[in-house]
Amino acid sequence: MSTADGMLSSSIHMVRGCVLVSVPADLDDESAVLLQDEAIGVLHRLGSRALLLDFSGVEAMDSTLVRSVFDIVDMAQQVGARAAVAGIGAGMASALALLGFEAGNVKTALDVDEGLQLLAEPEGPAQHFG
């Protein structure tokens, strides 16, 4: 995969105030770091308060790579955004569990739709999006 800047921005979209990051199936160590930079950068630039990582295009992935993608959730939380992971299929879930991979305190959802619901603004005082 080319590591040219901007190659990855095509997989990051804004959906209803939430930054949606589609994890590419051919992610490697280098582009994973790039994806982290991009995702957090976009989150900051757009002033969004929510980030969703979508794994639905990924059939299988090395657990260390999955970990570095999961790290984006932690990073997003550090900058005060709500974040979650969605779209991990049955095959990948069982493979990761057999390797002892733990989601930790990362929120998970079945698909993007569920993920967006999970991240939806909790009822309360109105908040302003940037």
Binding site: I88, L96, A97, G100, L110
Partner: protein, 159 residues
């Protein structure tokens, strides 16, 4: 050029392949009947585990649960282990593995049917179920699952 057909190869290695396929299909059926997953409520799956749980059975259960969870878009899975003959740390570990996998799909696991004897054994062995929620009865597990999904059970006013 002679194309190998199923009939021609029936006496050769092809037969083993066919037999292997049939055996695999049979194994799947057996795994499915031994581990009957039912939809207890919208987005709540229920699986009673009866008998022994070894690593093969645990793998079958995990595969079936994950496939069903994906198919029915389940949010919560209730595993009832009341019928498991011996619950030890190995079984506890299998259950934790299953819960880790379903968790990745946004689906949480509740273990029900922890009898006092099992609770005692697990504590004595120093085995714990980690973050997996556990209840004594299926009733409590269902109540907790419904609560998590935002349902409320109330008696009718005039009942």
């Amino acid at each position: 050029m002679v194309r190998p057909s199923v009939l021609q190869s029936a006496a050769g290695p092809g037969r083993d392949i066919m037999y292997g396929r049939m055996k695999m299909a049979k194994d799947d059926t057996v795994a499915g009947t031994q581990n009957p997953v039912s939809v207890l409520w919208d987005r709540i799956l229920f699986l009673p585990i009866v008998g022994t749980v070894d690593s093969k059975r645990a793998q079958d259960i995990m595969d079936i649960m994950l496939a069903k969870a994906e198919e029915t878009r389940a949010r919560i899975i209730i595993l009832d282990i009341k019928g498991v003959l011996a619950v030890d740390s190995a079984v506890a570990n299998h259950i934790i593995k299953i819960s880790l996998a379903t968790r990745l799909m946004g689906c949480s696991t509740i273990i029900s049917g922890i009898t006092p004897a099992v609770a005692q054994t697990l504590v004595h062995l120093g085995a714990d179920l980690g973050d997996v929620k556990s209840t004594g009865t299926v009733r409590d597990a269902l109540a907790s699952a419904l609560g998590e999904l935002g349902y409320e059970i109330r008696a009718k006013q005039d009942a």
